[in-house]
Point group: C2
Chain length 66, copies 2
DNA sequence: CCAGGTGTCAACAAATATGATGACACATTT
DNA sequence: AAATGTGTCATCATATTTGTTGACACCTGG
């Protein structure tokens, strides 16, 4: 499940033409935190998802469409 | 944010006519865990949200529409 | 009245996410 | 060749979620 979510984040990030580092910067997060998220090795919290969605300029619901 | 999410869970749970205890049972969770979620005192993980959504027979995206 | 359901709250141990730092291989650019 | 950007991985300390137990007040049905 985290795997699917990770793939979705990768997709949305690349759609914006961003690198992990760029998304991390906009999220005010660590580059490695984003990488873990995308690889699906963690089970992120709702707030983390909210921060990522905000950075990607989409809603939480849209981020979770997978 | 957790507050809004909690209110949404309450709404969807009551739409099914369930008590917190009933939702907890379907989720295989503790009654108190559901209660904390609904009150917004925790920042749940994606997997927890997935379990709740499954119990409510909706998608994650639908649960997060708020 | 009283037993049971309900929502709420507190505290604890265990598991886990997060932020941080450092490292590595690979590709691209200068 | 050297420097930089990229994605990946590991480790550590700290914060937080989660499961659990116990408790309380309130209400309703028997």
């Amino acid at each position: 499940m985290s795997r699917k979510l990770g793939k979705r984040i990768v997709l949305l990030r690349e759609k914006k033409g961003w690198s992990q580092a760029e998304l991390a910067r906009v999220c005010l997060k660590d580059r490695q935190s984003i990488e873990r998220l995308e690889r699906g090795t963690t089970n992120p919290t709702a707030y983390t998802l909210y921060e990522v969605a905000s950075a990607l300029e989409i809603t939480l619901a849209e981020l979770l469409k997978f």
